[in-house]
Symmetry: C2
Subunit: 306 residues, 2 copies
Amino acid sequence: MSQVYDRVALIGLGLIASSMFWAIKRAGLAGEVTGYARSEATRDTARRIGLCDRVCDTAKEAVEGADLVVLCVPVGAMEAVAQEIAPVLKPGATVTDVGSVKRHVIQVVSPHIPKGVHFIPAHPLAGTEHSGPESGFAELFDNRWSLLVPVEGSDPHAIARLRALWEGMGANVDEMDADHHDLVLAVTSHAPHLIAYTMVGVADDLRRVTDSEVIKYSAAGFRDFTRIAASDPTMWRDVFLTNKDATLEILGRFTEELFALQRAIRTGDGEHLFDYFTRTRAIRRGIIDAGQDTDAPDFGRGKANP
Amino acid sequence: MSQVYDRVALIGLGLIASSMFWAIKRAGLAGEVTGYARSEATRDTARRIGLCDRVCDTAKEAVEGADLVVLCVPVGAMEAVAQEIAPVLKPGATVTDVGSVKRHVIQVVSPHIPKGVHFIPAHPLAGTEHSGPESGFAELFDNRWSLLVPVEGSDPHAIARLRALWEGMGANVDEMDADHHDLVLAVTSHAPHLIAYTMVGVADDLRRVTDSEVIKYSAAGFRDFTRIAASDPTMWRDVFLTNKDATLEILGRFTEELFALQRAIRTGDGEHLFDYFTRTRAIRRGIIDAGQDTDAPDFGRGKANP
């Protein structure tokens, strides 16, 4: 793989940025990668573990001279960072981000992007329930999708270059409109996360009654929900606040379906339940066929403990 | 490990029964294991893959002379099977089951158990999203919990023997009251399954609009729901119909919490969301500390594709 950018700046050093750094290094995609994090503790950790070729004490310092600037902060912090770095952005440089919501990021970041700088929002659909600078690894994006969400009038060459970077990091790349992205992600990610958070919260209330039984017997299905509900609270707060409409729309449909199934349980309508559960089973098959999961049974143990 | 029973009969040859057979063989816990399945195709498969020492064409034939009879059929089929085998049960034998609901099974099976035969309901908290005679493996119960739910007046020696079998198959064993079992399982398993089925159903509706996008981008959180929602439709229909009250109670609490979080999103109450998500994260830590999952990140790939 050949070099795509001379210098890349990663602003925010959490799971995604640290994985990007190791993936960029794995494939030799950039000459130098600079990094900045707001917290001094994070910068110290980054320096200790060799995360980034150069860790800077200000965002401006990290951004100066960069051909690509990647905003890897929570969605709610994007605007302040964009405003701060705007004066030092190099003409012809590209600014991108990795936020889980796209319409909101475009609305708050675009106004700060100077003329002559390209802004190409993006969203890698990859993650784990861990966060922070030590949680990243080079393989995170392998065979995962990264969505580019170009704004009107984006430069095709700048888009092609960013696509080459993501492909070099192992990802499949698609382009998508911002509103459509936010709706699809509300279904595949945002609503499922809120539902998992909710179910775990309900169990937590019950746990106070039944001591540790909910944890002890979690392998029966609940455990998968706790993994999802262990994701970073700041990131997810921002996602729900900034993708409000699509998330609430999907949750409305979810509640409607849930009420229909509850009524089937209450009235003893086994046929309705059986048909519903048969239909959902087929979707699983589609996901395996699409290469987004394996057919190996999940033994209820996770990969490190087969 | 020494032999616990001379002869064990497995009635129903799906995921749990086939895993029991391989686990019993691994540890030499029984002299002979007979098996019966209602479907001829299942019996043929069992004979082909060496599942059970002897596959019988009737439940009665499998049960005759057995010291332990394990009912491994869906909860809704338990009564008919109990009625069928009752006349041939050996005096002093133990009948147990592996159903996910216990109060209902006790209600419908107990009346058919002859005097002099022990009935000790049980429920191993283990499974995968696969079903059928070929889905079993000896390690399924290792370090998982199996709950014994003795009915009033159960013989302590018969309980101790069944406990020894489950421990010999690798499980940890606890005893629990039937109603308490059904409530705890409604939280850790039944409600999460219904919620996962619902979310996948909602996505399926949307998939008709957006083609394959929901499947393509499923790795963002939705994929874990599809795994849960791929579980056996017959088994789960029966679970919901027979653990109706506890499931509906937990779903009621779930809906209440969900509405509170939806309101927080609608009103932009970030503090409420952040606090809620921080609390649920702590539960994940408890599950890892309890040895019911590992801290290894789920790369979104499943164990067979690291």
